[in-house]
Amino acid sequence: MSILIYAESAEGKFKKVALELASYAKKVAESLGTTVTAVTVNAGDVSELSKYGVDKVLKVANDKLAGFTAKAYADVIKQAAQKEGAKVVLLSSTTDSIYLSSLVAVALEAGFASNVVGLPVSTSPFQVKRNAFSNKAFNITEINTDVKVLALAKNSYGIFENASTLTEEDFNPTIGDADFGVKVVSVEKGSGKVSIADADIVVSAGRGLKGPENWGMVEELASVLGAATACSKPVSDLGWRPHGEHVGQTGKPVATNLYIAIGISGAIQHIAGINSSKVKVVINSDPEAPFFKVADYGIVGDAFEIIPQLTAKLKAFKEQQS
């Protein structure tokens, strides 16, 4: 009995969520008195995982899996879990892993909890805390199957070093043509330098910016912070910014370390989408804006005056730090 994680990588490098998942898995493994095995797909050098507590890596190298195909990847994870006799299978909450995880759960006949936000509340019975009601509440979920599948919400646990001695093993799961019923025709990456999914910091703006022509200053601030840009729902509805940047209950959820909201009043649906972010900064000319009620830090004032100044000051601060 071990714990299996699917360690997601892109272009041969592990995603940060994979390192968070490894850190989390190590802690769960300690409480269950077991070890952590990771399965990787075309990941190249896997030694980095040993820093975060992974004991064994099943390395899958297969050109057929060069592009992400949910069914085939789910099949790989299922076979890895069966080979290891894994009782707990852990995935991240990236778009790809969300796509995979319910397929994995059905394949393993496992109870599944998604959006998990912390270590198990109890291991017998097995109970975990997860986000529910669009981050307006938590739900303690009990999983009563022999094998359990969990998907960990991003930034909900953190990345912790916990060195282990790593064993590597080549793994060749059986992948049939039936796994490739869905074919990728083309991929189009967004124009932003950092995607919301990968970002630790998100700079988001709303109708207070008055028009799409004013987003330059938002992008500049984001660039200084190494942040992704995002927007409120009315802004994407008006076509000022792409839908992929819409943050909120019916848009993208954001669980970053820092969320900066500029000219966004803070509708309940928007707040629900960003509630899992650790630190929230609100800049708004209206002191009555509801967003101030959930913010950690706030500035009441004109964004058009504040943002360029803040960008310049942050630039100087970053240069001083480096």
Partner: protein
């Protein structure tokens, strides 16, 4: 072409979330229920297929009699018929198993379910249906077109989008973009009147395991008041973010 749209009956997005009975149950008092927004986008797309390509649209929900107004709304929007599976939707796998049974028996070509519901946010049902039936599955879809048995779709990926192709039958996890919000249908009086005469079939659930159980709910801890920084003192904000919050 036969389309099935899976409908979740969820609290309106502006609802206050509270719990009762020792925090073991959601407090429905004063809560307005709606079609899950991700499902509503899918329903509108299905109606588009009905109008443009002659598809028939069935809506289905797993829930008690209290969910019927939500199904009637879907009928008023334009669905041809509705099915209610008479069970409490407590677990994702249980719900997926019920829906899979309806799909298997109904011979649907396209099944659209929202990529997640706004109550439990599990995001698991569309994938589980696909897993149970072995159908092709496309999650986070923002567009779908069908020609003959060929399906082309656009799906959101982290940091962009991709175009994919597959064949019918297919399970779609839909979201905003599959239609735009401005294109969502509001039931008109004729639709409401017609909906009353459309078939709403009630089916009893099939046996399925319940793999998970919601045992308790919690609300986030109350937040301390915002620290306001003067617009003339942006250095102070940088100081707080660096030294106090440690996020830059």
């Amino acid at each position: 072409m036969k389309i099935l749209v899976c409908i979740s009956h969820v609290p309106d997005t502006t609802s206050k979330i509270n719990f009762i009975n020792g925090d073991s149950e959601f407090d429905t008092n004063g809560v307005q229920y709606v079609i899950n927004p991700n499902d509503e986008f899918g329903l509108t797309r299905a109606i588009w297929f009905q109008e443009q390509q002659g598809a028939t649209v069935t809506v289905v929900n797993v829930g008690g009699p209290d969910t019927e107004p939500t199904l009637r709304k879907a009928l008023a929007i334009g669905a041809n018929e509705a099915i209610r599976i008479n069970a409490n939707p407590t677990d994702g796998f249980f719900v997926a198993k019920q829906l899979a049974e309806v799909i298997k028996n109904g011979g649907y070509d396209i099944v659209i379910a929202g990529k997640e519901s706004l109550d439990y946010n599990g995001g698991m049902v569309p994938g589980m249906i696909a897993g149970i039936l072995g159908y092709n599955f496309l999650n986070s879809c923002t567009n779908i077109t069908v020609e003959g048995t060929n399906v082309t779709a656009v799906r959101e990926i982290d940091g962009g989008k991709e175009t994919v192709s597959t064949t019918l039958p297919v399970i779609i996890g839909g979201q905003k973009g599959i239609v735009e919000e401005k294109d969502l249908r509001i039931p008109n009086m004729r639709g409401i009147m017609t909906a009353r005469t459309k078939a709403l079939t009630i089916l009893e659930p099939v046996d399925a395991s319940v793999n998970t159980k919601a045992v308790k709910f919690e609300k986030p801890a109350p937040k301390s008041a915002v620290k306001l920084v003067s617009a003339d003192n942006l250095d102070e904000l940088i100081n707080l973010l660096h030294n106090e919050a440690k996020v830059i």
